[in-house]
Amino acid sequence: MSTNGKGTNGNGHKEILETSVSAESDGDSVARSVAPPPAKLTKADFVSGQEVRWCPGCGDYSILNNVQKVMPELGIPREKIVFVSGIGCSSRFPYYMNTYGFHSIHGRAPAIATGVKAANPELSVWVITGDGDALSIGGNHFMHAIRRNLDINVILFNNRIYGLTKGQYSPTSEMGKKTKSTPMGVIDYPLNPLSVAIASEATFVASSLDVDVKHLGATVQAAAKHKGVSFVEVYQNCNIFNDGAFEYFAERNVRSDNMIYLEHGKPMIFGKNHDKGIRMNGAHPEVVQLGSETGLNENDLLVHDIHLKDPSVAFMLARMEYPAFPQPVGIFRAVERDTYEDMMTDQIETAINKLGPGSLEKLINSGDMWTVE
């Protein structure tokens, strides 16, 4: 850093204050892009060149990598993409994407994204948030942005901990968990982000794993394609403050028994030998063994349907937790509903049709008027 207090910046800009600092003084590269985008973009086009500053081994890297990989598949030009985030390790995400980006304040990303999308419905708008960002300080905005059904994509990096502030418990931390701020264990009951999203009338709800590259990519893509709000919870490992938080179902060798991939139109089968399933017993789901011993087969199982208008089944699935159930991962719900921005645009058009395009002349010359001669 040149700190002579008099440097010029060498970019043709005049000195602005008596002390000036030079633009090249820091290692960071310039946040700009020069050439117009080529017809088919590649992953590299979405890499911003800012030095990524997560801890080595953090699950956030994998998510970033996957999102950058999926972006070219969406066929949206870079300039039409906006990433908005709150505060947290996860919320640094937009800096690393070579798109428009807004790293805002703690918990408020859904509200900022609402303004972005409402102002320009043509943009592809992404919200990146953490479990603390979305569900503690930003709980209110999270819920309301979802219920409004703006066509935005919300990705929640759930590491069940406050990473950036170095390891306090979060609203998704388990009961009893010992953290810096809970030396004797957490005594607040956790929230389940998926059930909060469903209860908030989300039209697309999914979960995925940071380590499951294929599934994550496909889920992000499905979220992007959904018209209306898409909510994706990604189980993300914080190897510094909550290492192995999801191992009990996400670890490769237990996945098939402790986790179930939700697939639309398919019976809910899981297990190494594809011999376990979920069926309905009255109003409740239960795990059953398939095969000759029980006499049960695929036809007895619940068939996953993401398009059910009634959110009850999605909610029920979202409540399934290991060890009573395998942890469900995948798309829980995908239904159609008018979006907020479309309805807003419609109202404006209706008003114009009815009243004519706004005339300032008429507007100021209305109400209780009189003329003084």
């Binding site: 000036s20 030009p77 300039e79 706004g358 300032l360 209780d368 003329t371």
Partner: protein, 619 residues
């Protein structure tokens, strides 16, 4: 009286001319006093009087009927002269019930006129109003000119059998009966109000007829009854020729921001969460969607400002509006807009604080909050309209400055401006300032935190612009590149740069005008809604030959460039404010002048005579 006389005949009553009259209409919240006052005001404006109003309503929507907290008032000053305030003291009090009399009597001038609905002075109502004995009989009203009218009965007799309305519905028309009486008493035409009744109740003929009959019967009753021997007229005011419109501050604010959007050629986005006394701005803007206005009723004030910031980032005119408690919630996000250097306008219609305070009353105690109320060195431009009609001009000014300097601008209105009304000389469109919003489009050497040499504004590059993809955020920015940067020298530089940018707006705003001599004994300095009282008080003292001048600030951060020089021209600077001396503290700190704070924090505007008396202490 059960028939309606279509053409009242003059019965030789005495008609006297008055220059200025101040009437206060007071009744229960359910008595329709705001409406009655508004009708009287509109008619007075249209007949050519100068007008100024002060509505005063309770915080509760419907406090118990007849109770003291349930009293709603509307004060109107109308004149054949140029007036700037709703009047210090009413000359006339219309009291629809005992509680209204109790609450308002102390304000009435000595020897003032009282018109009373005697029907409401029942034992029960007297008890609600905490009257131990009946004030109509116990001498309480000695020294006033009292007209006792059984308005409820007169109204009932007039309407019964003539309209298909229940007793209760008929009773609800009685405010129009009272209005009719006052129209006769002050020689006003009924036409304006009759047209209004026809329009408003077009879908309900019986209510329409009821109100019309009540109005006309009240008028004719006053004309024929022995109660009144004299009535009064107030001539047209000598106002500059032109088109006028009666307008409240909140209306002018809403229209002003729509105008700014039209002048800038960019859509307006208004994020807001309902709060008194700012909600009417949201209501008004929501009615004008054909101007492309997008109104967003958010889940709270934080979401409201955040969405406005998102809209600004995207190239809309991001506007958010609230009152003091809401600003407290918005401050962190406003800091984000300062850091990301995005244009944003924050309307604060100030009300009594702290906390919930006096939600329906006026105050000016959020100046510090606007200028200094955020974490870090976080400068924002602060401006304040001076009168209800001035709200229009300052709305346009707020948008102009926000976009020219790429910075948040506070627009400080207050409850008094918001609900008060005055005539507005409707401008010609081409007289309005142009607002230029320049978007960056050239990817060559684009740097999101480069600077305009004159204003220090950074380029405005909105999503959708190819090649200008960049990231902004609340973390300190590296000069020029806008990259995240923690370098101590860079931070020091950027803090000064953001301050300098706001300071430079001083080059771009009008100097402050002195009304009167440029030097002298006393300067009365004001800001915001105190304008009318200060100007009237100073004019009065000047007519008496006193060495007093006044100056009014509409730009509070930065201050106009000549302010220091103006202040130094006077032996004493008095700063009347509806707070404990906030502007006074600011100018003392900035210019080292020994200014005197004159505080009134009662939820009510200054009276002219209060300021006169204060100034006289220093002459």
């Amino acid at each position: 009286m059960s028939t309606v006389i279509e053409n009242p005949v003059e019965q030789g009553k005495h008609l006297e001319e008055l220059e200025t009259v101040t009437i206060r209409f007071a009744g229960d919240s359910g008595d329709g006093m705001q409406l009655t006052g508004t009708q009287f005001t509109n008619t007075s404006a249209v007949v050519g009087n100068d007008i100024s109003t002060l509505p005063d309503f309770p915080a509760e929507i419907r406090a118990p009927a007849g109770s003291l907290p349930g009293v709603s008032g509307f004060q109107l000053n109308f004149s054949s002269q140029d007036i700037k305030t709703p009047g210090d003291q009413p000359n006339v009090l219309v009291a629809m019930n005992p509680a209204a009399l109790k609450v308002n009597l102390a304000d009435l001038e000595d020897g003032g006129t009282i018109i009373i609905n005697t029907d409401s002075f029942t034992k029960e109502n007297l008890k609600y109003a905490a009257y131990e004995t009946n004030p109509l009989e116990d001498g309480t009203l000695a020294g006033f000119r009292v007209h006792k009218l059984p308005i409820t009965t007169l109204n009932m007799n007039a309407l019964k059998g003539n309209v298909e309305l229940s007793r209760k519905e008929i009773d609800r028309c009685k405010n129009f009966f009272a209005l009719g009486v006052l129209y006769w008493l002050y020689d006003r035409p009924m036409e304006q109000t009759i047209n209004w009744i026809h329009e408003k109740f077009a879908k309900n003929r019986e209510v329409m007829n009821g109100n019309e009959i009540a109005l006309k019967t009240g008028y004719n009753f006053a004309d024929t009854t022995e109660v009144f021997t004299t009535h009064y007229t107030v001539k047209k005011a000598q106002i500059a020729p032109g088109k006028y419109r009666k307008i409240t501050g909140n209306e002018a604010t809403a229209i002003g921001f729509i105008a700014a959007s039209q002048l800038a050629g960019r859509p307006l986005f208004y994020g807001s969460y309902p709060i008194t006394p700012a909600s009417d701005i949201l209501h008004e803007l929501a009615r004008h969607k054909n101007f492309g206005v997008k109104t967003f009723q958010a889940e709270d004030e934080i979401a409201a400002v955040s969405a406005a910031i998102g809209a600004s980032f995207t190239g809309h005119i991001g506007l958010t509006g609230t009152s003091g408690p809401g600003v407290a919630l918005k401050q962190e996000a406003i800091g984000l807009a300062v850091m990301t250097e995005l244009p944003l306008v924050i309307i604060n219609v100030q009300r009594g604080g702290p906390s919930t305070g006096l939600p329906t009353k006026t105050e000016q105690a959020d100046l510090f909050q606007a200028v200094w109320g955020r974490n870090g060195e976080c400068p924002a431009i602060v401006i304040a309209p001076a009168t209800p009609a001035d709200c229009f001009n300052m709305a346009v000014e707020a948008v102009r400055l926000a976009f020219k300097y790429m910075t948040p601008v506070f627009y400080l209105s207050d409850g008094y401006l918001a609900n008060g009304a005055e005539p507005w000389a409707v401008p010609e469109i081409d007289e309005l300032p142009k607002i230029e919003i320049k978007f960056a489009t050239n990817p060559e050497n684009f740097m999101p935190y480069a600077r305009d040499e004159e204003t220090l504004a950074r380029p405005y590059a909105i999503p959708g612009t190819p090649g200008l993809e960049h990231r902004i955020g609340g973390i300190e920015k590296q000069h020029l590149t806008g990259n995240v940067n923690y370098d101590p020298e860079n931070h020091h530089f950027m803090v000064k740069l953001r301050q300098e940018k706001v300071d430079r707006a001083a080059n771009d705003i009008p100097t402050v005008e002195v009304f009167g001599e440029k030097t002298g004994k006393v300067l009365v300095l004001g800001w915001g809604s105190t304008y009318g009282s200060i100007a009237s008080a100073v004019e009065k003292l000047q007519r008496e030959g006193k060495s007093v001048s006044s100056a009014h600030l509409r730009h509070l951060n930065p201050f106009p460039k000549n302010l220091g020089e103006v202040l130094r021209g006077f032996e004493t600077v008095i700063v009347p404010e509806m707070n404990l001396g906030q502007l006074c503290t600011m100018i003392r700190a900035r210019y080292l002048v020994d200014a005197v704070a004159f505080s009134k924090v009662k939820g009510r505007p200054f009276q002219i005579r209060e300021i006169v008396r204060k100034v006289e202490e220093y002459l």
